[in-house]
Amino acid sequence: MRRALVVTLAALAFPGVASAHATLRSTTPAFGHEIGHGPAHIVLTFDQAVRVLPGALKVLNGVGTQFALPARSEGRSVVAPVAPLKRGAYTVRWRAISADSHVVSGVWTFGVGIPAPAVGEAYGAGGPTVAEHVVRWLWFLGLALAIGSLGFRVICLRGASVPRALDRKLVVASGLGVVVTLQAGITAFSLRAEDALQLPFGDFLYGDLSPMAATRFGRAFVVMTLGFALVLALLYLSWLLDRTDLLVPAFALSVLFAGGLSWSGHDALDPGSSWKTAVADWVHIAAASVWIGGLATMVGLLWYGAPELRRVAFANFSRLATLLIALVLGAGTYLSIVRLPHLSDLWTQGYGRVLLVKLGLVCFALLWGTFHHFVVRPALERADAGFLARLGRSLAGESLVGIAVLLAAAVLVDSKPPSRDSQQSPQGAAAATLRP
C-alpha cells in the first residue's frame, strides 16, 4: 500500500510531461520574434487536428489594418497567406476549433525589421485598468499579510512563550494572506490576458493564454502560484502537526517568491532595467511587506489577543523595523534614480506624480514610526494599561497609512516609467509604433 502511494504521488508530481488539452505548439513567425522580411504565410501548428472558423485569423498592424487572407487547415496546422508586410510591429489574432472539441483563441506579436513588442502591447490592448490596480493592491495586501505575520512570528516572537491560541491565529492569518495572494494572482493574470486578447468574455474563457504565460508577467504568475501553493501546504502542516519550526521555511519561501510581484511589474520596456533593479525591487517589496504586514499583525492579533507580550513584541518589532525601513529607503532611492532620469519627471510625468504621492505617504508613515521608536519605546517600561491601549490605536493608524502606501505602490508598479531620450529602447519604439 505504501509503495502504491509513493508511485502514485511520484506520477502526480510530474504533470509537465504531457499536455491535457489542445495546445498551440509552434507558430511561424514565432512568438515575439523579429524577422527581416514579411512572411508569405502565417502558420500555426497544434498538437492535434484543428479547423478554422471563417475570418478567424487576422494579422494587424499598428493602426489595425488587416493583412491576412483566408486561412485553411492542413491536419494539425492552420495556414494563412499574408499580403506583403512593411517594416513594423504586427499582431496575430486567431480562433480555431480544436480536435478535442473546444474553440480556442489566442494572440501573439512579431516584428518586421524591428523587435516585436510584448504581447501585452498587442494591437487593441489598452494597458492596466483601474480593476488591475485594485487587484494588484489586493495582491500586495495578501502578500503583506502572509509575509508580515510569518515574519512577525519567526523574528519578533522568537524565543517568547507564545500562547497556543495566538500561534494558531498567526498561522490562520498568514494562510489567509497566501490564499488572497493566490486568488489575486489568478485574477491579475486573467485581467492582463483579457486585455491582450481583446475577446468577448465567452470567447475569452476558451482563449489560449500561452503567449501571456511566456511573458515576464506570466512567468512571475506561474512561479508565484507554485511557490505560494507550497507555502500554503507548509502552513497547513505547521497547524496540523503543531510544528512552529515549519514556519521558518514557509517565511523564507514567501520572501523569496515575493520577487514575482516586482518581476511582474512594469514590463520589459522599463528604461534602465537590469538584474540590479530586479533585486532592488524584490528587496523593496519584501521589506515593505514584512514591515507593513508585521505591524498590522502586531496590532490586529497580538495587541488585544496576548497583552502580556506587548512590550517584548513592540521592542523587537521596533528594532526589526529600523532595518526594514533602511532597506525600503535604500532600494527605493536607487530605483527612483534609475527610473526617473530627470528630477522634473516627478511632477511632469504620470509615473512621477504617483511616486510623489507614494513618497508623501511613506514619509508620513516614517515620521509616525520614528515617533514610536524614539519616544514611545523608551517609555514603554513604565507604561500603564491606558498608555498601551492608546499605543494600540496609534499603531493601527500607522498600519492604515502603510496600507495606503501599498495602494500607491500597486498603481506605481502597473505604470510605465518615463523613457530616457538617450536610452530609449528599441522595444519602446516598437511599442510606440504599435499603439493604435
Binding site: L5, T8, P15, H21, L24, V222, T225, L232, A233
Partner: protein, 194 residues
C-alpha cells in the same frame, strides 16, 4: 505508446481510484479494523490533500485556455480544503463534524466546473459525453457526503461514497479521447489522431 494528452488525467485518475479503494476497504471492514494501523487513517485524506497541492502545477502550466485554468484551480482549492479538513478531523485538530461539509462542497464545485468548462453538448464526442457525465455524477454524488455528515457510521453511505469515487476515476481514465460515443462523433471533433 501512450497518448500524451491522457497522462495528466490518468495520473489523477489513479490517485482518485486509490482514494476510492481506501474508502471501500474502510466501508467493508469497518472503521475500527481499518484504523488498527494508525497511519491508515491518514491515507486517503492525505492523498486527497496531496492531489490538491499537485493540481496547482497543472493549473499554472496548462494555460492553453482560461476556463481549464480556472477549473484546475478550483479543483486544487477544494481538494486541499476537503482533504485538509478530513486530516484535521482524523488527527484531532478539528472537532466539529460540520467540517465534513467541505466534501459535499468539493463535489459540487468539481461537478459545476466539469459542466461549465465543457463547451459542447453530450453527444459531440466521447470526451464531451464524459465531461457531462462526470459533472452530473459529482453534482448528484454530493448528496452522499452530505448525508454522511449526519450519518457518519452508515456502511451503506460509506460504500456509496467509495463507489462514486471509483466510478469517477473510471470515467476519468476513459475521458479525453477523440472517439465516437454510442456510434456518434461530430465532424467538428476532428479525426482520431492516436
Amino acid at each position: 505508446m501512450l497518448p500524451h494528452a491522457e497522462m495528466v488525467h490518468w495520473a489523477f485518475a489513479a490517485g482518485i481510484l486509490l482514494v476510492g479503494l481506501c474508502l471501500l476497504c474502510e466501508a467493508i471492514v469497518g472503521q475500527e479494523v481499518w484504523r488498527m494501523r494508525p497511519w491508515r487513517k491518514y491515507l486517503w485524506p492525505g492523498l486527497a490533500f496531496g492531489m490538491g497541492v499537485l493540481l496547482w502545477p497543472v493549473m499554472a502550466f496548462f494555460t492553453n485556455s482560461s476556463i481549464h485554468m480556472y477549473a484546475h484551480g478550483s479543483w486544487a482549492e477544494v481538494l486541499m480544503l476537503a482533504g485538509g479538513a478530513e486530516l484535521g478531523l482524523v488527527h484531532g485538530r478539528l472537532k466539529s463534524r460540520a467540517w465534513r461539509l467541505t466534501w459535499p462542497l468539493a463535489f459540487a464545485v468539481t461537478g459545476l466546473a466539469f459542466i461549465v468548462h465543457e463547451q459542447n453538448p453530450w453527444f459531440f464526442a466521447r470526451s464531451a459525453f464524459l465531461h457531462h457525465l462526470l459533472g452530473w455524477t459529482f453534482l448528484l454524488g454530493a448528496l452522499v457526503p452530505l448525508a454522511l455528515v449526519w450519518r457518519p457510521r452508515s456502511a451503506t453511505l460509506q460504500a456509496c461514497m467509495a463507489l462514486t469515487i471509483v466510478a469517477v476515476s473510471v470515467m476519468l481514465f476513459a475521458d479525453r479521447d477523440v472517439a465516437a460515443v454510442f456510434g456518434h462523433l461530430s465532424p467538428l471533433a476532428g479525426p482520431a489522431h492516436r
